[in-house]
């Protein structure tokens, strides 16, 4: 039976996310998708969905909803108290929510974004190959509002691949590997050294577009305008104020400020759980030579 999810409490910012959009960056469309992809995939596996099925991504204070049909539900990512019909249930486990019971994901104990998978996935309209909300581009479903209703997909009936996965909460300090380039040569030698030795803190105005970092100022080696160029996920961009921005899923597809290093994929997902005030330290390494 087709079901639906009715939003009771939207939380600060709860969006529908899947693996995001590919192959449309040349149209100016960001990737979007779950910021903590492993957490999204785990939530889906717990309820027997395909790993890239659409889930809810919450921001700090959870979400509350009611299903109109019995479905398995799992919450992963930022650990938070979960209740179904006011009974506490386990975080990181698949549990059955019956039709009409209030599912409540509370405020995250650590981290920022919890992921809520429902058996069958969220079957909102696919836009450019994805069901994800893109807050920069305004593509995909609107962020959740109380009273809104989201259609559920059909349960595929696969046996869950995993029942339980131990979860390690986000660390107080975020150590991120990064590969120098494409515009590391835009920084002074002293600033390149700073990138490897100093630390920054995550600013409160960070969002799905990027982690804004506060700390030592990175200085340009020369004052010149760069033409706009394509930027990738995990890019560390240095705007004129010298405070780096680490681009996350909803980042613009091109930018005119230099990208001095890029954080690789396994490390980007951990940025999803970095609260304001988290210390960030980069561990730059030279890129593999592309010379012929």
């Amino acid at each position: 039976m087709r079901g639906s999810l009715r939003v009771v409490r939207s939380g600060a910012l709860t969006t529908v996310q899947d693996a995001g959009r590919r192959g449309v960056a040349h149209l100016g469309v960001p990737r979007a998708g779950a910021l903590d992809r492993p957490a999204m995939e785990l939530a889906n596996r717990l309820v027997g969905n395909e790993p890239g099925a659409a889930v809810l991504e919450t921001t700090l204070d959870g979400v509350g909803f009611v299903l109109d049909t019995d479905r398995r539900v799992a919450v992963t990512g930022a650990p938070a108290p979960v209740t179904i019909a006011a009974r506490p249930v386990a975080f990181g486990l698949a549990v059955l929510a019956r039709a009409g019971e209030l599912v409540e994901v509370g405020r995250a104990d650590a981290g920022v974004r919890s992921y809520v998978a429902v058996g069958g996935g969220l079957d909102v309209a696919v836009v450019l190959g994805s069901r994800s909300t893109d807050v920069l581009a305004g593509i995909g479903p609107e962020p959740l509002r109380a009273g809104a209703s989201l259609p559920l997909g059909d349960v595929v009936g696969r046996v869950p691949a995993v029942d339980f996965v131990p979860y390690s909460p986000p660390a107080a300090a975020l150590h991120l590997r990064c590969v120098l380039g494409p515009r590391a040569d835009e920084l002074t030698a002293a600033s390149l050294e700073l990138l490897a030795s100093a630390s920054w803190t995550v600013s409160p105005d960070s969002n799905r577009i990027g982690l804004r970092l506060q700390g030592p100022r990175l200085e340009r080696a020369r004052r010149r305008e760069l033409a706009s160029e394509g930027v990738v996920d995990g890019s560390i961009q240095v705007p004129p104020d010298g405070q780096p921005v680490l681009f996350l899923a909803d980042h613009p597809t091109t930018g005119g400020y230099p990208v001095v290093a890029v954080v690789p994929e396994p490390d980007i997902w951990r940025c999803a759980q970095a609260r304001p005030g988290t210390t960030v330290q980069f561990h730059p390494e030279a890129a593999r030579s592309l010379a012929g």
């Binding site: 040349h26 149209l27 100016g28 380039g181 494409p182 033409a227 160029e229 613009p252 994929e265 592309l290």
Partner: protein, 227 residues
């Protein structure tokens, strides 16, 4: 690093640029690289060749190819170093006309920066619209926001600077100029381009397939209309 395609006979034909020059290849993380080119024409030639190769199955369709002003970004590569080496062996295909469509866009030329542009161009403000509409434009790339097309076609002497202080909000449909480009704001957003008019045609409509009215390679003519 240079990439000069041997292209026998191509030197004799002086009509179309069938040789491009990759000035430099820069790493962008572990799975992407940025090919720097000498000109926008070279960017377009390399972008077209990448698309041709994707359609022919010679380049994985999963590779994201993003052209910009002087660069082409290749993302989601399995092996960036191997791809950098392969890029050096690419020779342009036959100099076919670009695959883009022809689009006519009606514009009311009444923007707040007509006076500034007129002064830079050495003409009267009421002549800017006809001058701009007389040019053949082409979509070089899409960036900044979904559906925001960077159109070339301005002669070198008509390049204009950006505003020193960007406007906090530029209305959707505004037609602006910056450097060598014309752009039409798909949605209300901050912006530093000099505004010369407005166009009522939606540049971006998520309900439309494809949602972006314009794509790289499209030929555009502006038609001056009264309000």
């Amino acid at each position: 690093m240079r990439l000069l395609s041997p292209g026998p006979g191509s030197r004799a034909e002086k009509i179309a640029p069938t040789v491009w020059l990759v000035v430099n290849v820069r790493p962008a993380g572990t799975r992407a690289l940025l090919a720097e080119l000498a000109s926008l024409g070279d960017v377009q030639a390399l972008y077209d060749e990448a698309r041709r190769r994707q359609q022919a199955g010679l380049l994985s369709a999963g590779v994201e190819v993003v052209p910009a002003a002087r660069t082409v970004l290749f993302d989601h590569l399995d092996d960036a170093a191997a791809f950098a080496a392969e890029l050096r062996t690419w020779a342009p295909g036959p100099s076919a006309p670009r695959a883009g469509t022809r689009v006519e866009l009606p514009v009311v030329y009444d923007g707040p920066d007509l006076g500034a542009v007129a002064e830079l161009w050495g003409i009267r403000p009421d002549e800017v619209g006809d001058a701009h509409a007389s040019l053949d434009h082409e979509v070089a790339f899409i960036g900044f926001s979904p559906g925001f097309a960077y159109l070339t076609g301005l002669p070198d002497a008509w390049r204009v600077p950006r505003l020193d202080r960007p406007r906090p909000a530029v209305p959707a449909g505004s037609v602006g100029l910056a450097d060598e480009f014309t752009g039409i704001y798909p949605r209300r957003s901050p912006g530093g381009w000099l505004l010369i008019g407005r166009c009522a045609v939606a540049m971006w409509d998520p309900e439309r397939v494809p949602p972006s009215l314009l794509a790289p390679g499209d030929a555009v003519r502006f038609v001056a209309v009264r309000r």
